[in-house]
Symmetry: C2
Subunit: 332 residues, 2 copies
DNA sequence: GATGACACTGAAAACGATTTCATACACGCT
DNA sequence: AGCGTGTATGAAATCGTTTTCAGTGTCATC
């Protein structure tokens, strides 16, 4: 037997409306306020959030849709989003899409059924295009991946510049045959690829990029293949933390030395990158800022639904470690 | 203007009750079923989950309360829980307590307001005791941390045996002065400590344990301190993945060699442990099984509220790597 | 002393679904 | 023909809140 606001009202000798007002900050005399508070304590009343949401038509809930929360990048973003949301009195529904467009569509539909206030979304490439056409009952802020699809708020890394920076560093260290591994699921991979190509060409070098699934396994297989075939480049850049890990695993398994047998650079300054091999050179993304900013954009949008679209581009920081040490032998 | 079940009913030429039945699998003639489906499509109707939950009194939602989702151990458990829950048609509300008992209490209250079906909870030591006394409107399955508090379903690692196994391995490798670092927030730390002490005593060695905050930072500070003071042991075991990382960081920063300057063993077979230094010897917890089993216990409890309490104890696996290599010099 | 403004309160409607209850109809059986 | 059984349907009640609406009482103002 669950106790409702009516029970509290009876216990306090007031109407349910007054209880509601006392709890929700409405105009209530100090006397009745006290009576209600006492009655709430006495009865052990807990408001029913479903009823509240139904009647008030405020879900006080946002959706956070990402590829996979076990990817440390998204974990960090998610914590920042949750903390900001909590401070704003909002709950968060977390959804993992595994880069599957069907799951993305399903979760967006779920968000409609939950009548969420807004959504923060890291879409696959396939969905970015669909999003441009579709219209939802809630604002959406894209995160990490925006593409050129206008019309949506977004907060992303300056992927082009970051990849450029990484390649420039490798070139300055004396590397020439530099391969790039890029994820094939998101626009992020494309942008990083473009930055890589631009920097290579500026240095008079020939780009050699591979688009693969953005997973540890795919990158590991690719790298293993190189060493088996004897086609490994002098250096490789990996376009996210998972792929970076795959490359390192393959090298250790094959007994190869970093950076002597192959130099490595990548994205996402996850804590293990400091510990693996001689330390890995990476682009550090401001993950917490990314999450906070997304939340801020969402709140601003709720305040001003008709304000112009805003795309926030954050800069990365290049953290140099041993995995891109200077070439020592006779560089080809 | 949002469209409700009444609009669909009007469009289909039936009553709202029939629409509800058509959508929910009630007895409806094939003819009306088709009409309703067409009307749903035509109107773009999306059921309002708050209304549904209010009336049906089924939230179809469970709570998952853990210390910190950015701890890879909890990340892995959470994904397993979410996948199982999703298959069972349940949504998951994720809560991070940061090992703070106040947050734990607050989230448990939130779960009551959400009228969740059940809760999976990794409590701090402080809350384990409180839980034994308290009573909630939903079943709770404890995970990772149960203590001796009976009366609650739980799924945990055999912490005592695992710590014992780790120490036995170190002893077999020739180490004698073995220190243990244990987390002070959970019962898990205590159980692992007890296993450590038992194994040390069985080997005729003197235990030397430290209880500290279960964080990278605390373990790093402690280890740095040892090397500064020259009091580092021959080997250390760290009671979770975060503390293990702290130890490794401190050693690398101080320019110390693993295992020559100090051997390391720990808990949680996170992917980076294979990559750091010579590879780290760890206890692998069956994280996915842990999450799945917790979900299963919860469902069983919902089916049979009065069945006897069940505590499921899973065994760990010892993964031996280079960080506990055999002692080479003249062991003292 | 009438009047308007203001602050507080309760009765009742509303939110959007599911569920209960009553009814209508078809069917098989005696 | 009469009757029980079972299935499909709609009207209306219901879930637990918030919100609207209509007072009521107090107070300052003219």
């Amino acid at each position: 037997m669950t106790i409702s606001i009516k029970d509290v009202a009876r216990a306090a000798g007031v109407s349910p409306a007054t209880v509601s007002r006392a709890l929700g900050g409405g105009p209530v005399s100090a006397e009745l306020q006290a009576q209600v508070e006492a009655a709430v304590k006495a009865t052990g009343y807990r408001p029913n959030l479903s009823a509240r949401r139904l009647r008030s038509r405020h879900s006080q809930t946002i959706g956070l849709i990402v590829a996979d929360i076990s990817n440390p990048f998204f974990t960090a973003v998610a914590r920042a989003v949750e903390d900001s949301a909590y401070k704003a009195g909002l709950r968060v529904i977390l959804c993992n899409t595994d880069e599957n467009p069907q799951k993305e569509a399903m979760y967006l539909q779920l968000m409609e059924e939950e009548r969420v206030t807004g959504v923060i979304f890291a879409p696959t490439r396939a969905s970015v295009d669909k999003l441009a056409r579709a219209t939802y009952n809630f604002p959406i802020v894209l995160i990490d991946r925006a593409g050129r699809a206008g019309g949506r708020d977004a907060v992303v890394l300056d992927n082009f510049a970051a990849a450029d920076m990484l390649v420039a560093h490798l070139v300055a260290q004396g590397y020439r045959r530099i391969t790039g591994l890029f994820g094939n699921a998101s626009t992020t991979g494309i942008e990083r690829h473009d930055g890589y190509v631009a920097a290579m060409q500026r240095a008079g070098l020939t780009p050699a990029a591979r688009f693969i699934a953005p997973t540890v396994e795919a990158a590991e297989a690719e790298t293993r293949h190189w060493f088996k075939q004897g086609t490994a480049p002098e250096a490789v850049i990996a376009s996210n933390g998972l792929m970076l890990m795959g490359v390192v695993r393959a090298m250790l398994a094959a007994g190869k030395k970093i950076p002597e047998d192959m130099a490595i650079a990548g994205f996402d300054n996850e804590s293990w990158t400091e510990l693996a091999g001689p330390g890995l050179t990476v682009i550090e993304q401001p993950v917490a800022d990314l999450g906070r900013a997304a939340m801020q954009l969402l709140m601003d949008r709720l305040d001003a639904p008709d304000a112009p679209m805003r795309k926030l581009v954050l800069g990365g920081r290049c953290v140099v470690r041993g995995s891109t040490g200077r070439v020592t032998g006779a560089a080809g």
